[in-house]
Amino acid sequence: MQNSKKILLLAACIWSYCAYAQQGGFTSQPVKRGDYSFVVYVSGGLGHYPAYSKDLAYLDPKIQNVNPVSTIRIMWHPDHLVKVGLETGYLTFLNYTLTDSAGQRGKVLLNATPLLVEWTMALTKRFNVFAGSGVYFLTTNLDYKGKTRSKKISVGWMAAASYIQPVTKNMGIGAELKWLDAAESRDGTICLQLQWVWRFLKW
């Protein structure tokens, strides 16, 4: 239940935040019936992937706990609540250096490019939730007694919540809390990103 407590605490914080959301400007909610648009979300930030030193103790690891996560998403905003789109990007799940029993050092990087179909819904004018599923193209980059690059495709998921502050009628900036998980990476990364949102096509 430890996780549940954390989630509830998070829920309370975000709920409070949402309650103060202001009106006007950019919104992901339908502008009016019949409006259709494409919206691009460009996001960059940092993610945390749960990797514990004790699990890798035999490698004497130095784990980089926070790693960059950059994503781009295009959503189709029709005149109803639920919107659909695609997201891709580049992220690092796991990043650590190791030292073997002979003192030789090495480095492991597990990177991923997700390709996810996503659904989103505006909860308020500024606050949106996302959920999606698809594949992750995973790449291990190992530098220990030679360099090895190894790839694997994995099924995966995502969930996110974002808050967008309007800048112009078709543009906004925001922040997004996101969970990205590939089945083969064992655990997901939870990341916080800054976001630039642009409604680049409307008809």
Partner: protein
Amino acid sequence: MNHSYRKGIQLVLFFFLLAGQTAIKAQDVPIDHQKRIFFPYPMDRKWSTSVGFTGTTMPYEITEELHFRMPAGDVHILRRLHNKWYLDGHLSLQGLQNLITLGPRIAIPVSDRLSMAAGNDIGFWFGIINVQGVKTKGTGWQNYPNLSLGYRFNKRILVTLKAESIMNIGINTHAGDIKVTTDYRLFSGSAYTLALEQPFYGKKSLTLAFRAIYTNFYWQTWTLFEPYDRNLFFPQIIVGIIL
């Protein structure tokens, strides 16, 4: 993996909660105007039909290195019977193996926003698949007693939590001429569905649901002939358009 699933599920649930929490200022829409399949409420229309698909992720324990998601076509049909009673029919279609379930429901509104339903579905699955040159055949009867709890938010969002008990009352599989299993697992496991239904394109509605299945026999895996008696986890995504 399990830890990861759990965290993800909790996050998704949390977003579902927010969906309700943040819709306070929106215009209310009466339930009669909203199409629904999962939401437990007496039917106003004679028929209600949903077409979509499911994707079920198979556990490593039985599919080994193949960690894949198995898609299936999904057709859900409701037929109003009398007052609070209706029939719930469901087809899960994969061509070579399919499941059909049918059962009555009684839906009881508890308050203006809250309602619940109880039902019992009888299911029958069958499949004929050529596995590496060997014709395998399987059939089975199932029973799904179920309870649903629905809450209608005022932004045309219907959230339903459905709990089912999974009873396998006959599993018969053959590989070629060899009879592999004749099994009876009364309490095979349970399933919990969290479904979100809301208006979509045109006059249609969209169902997005997550179903957590814990069972010692999942009908889509009958060709694997596993003798396990462990309640493995099969996460399932359900997407449907209510016509």
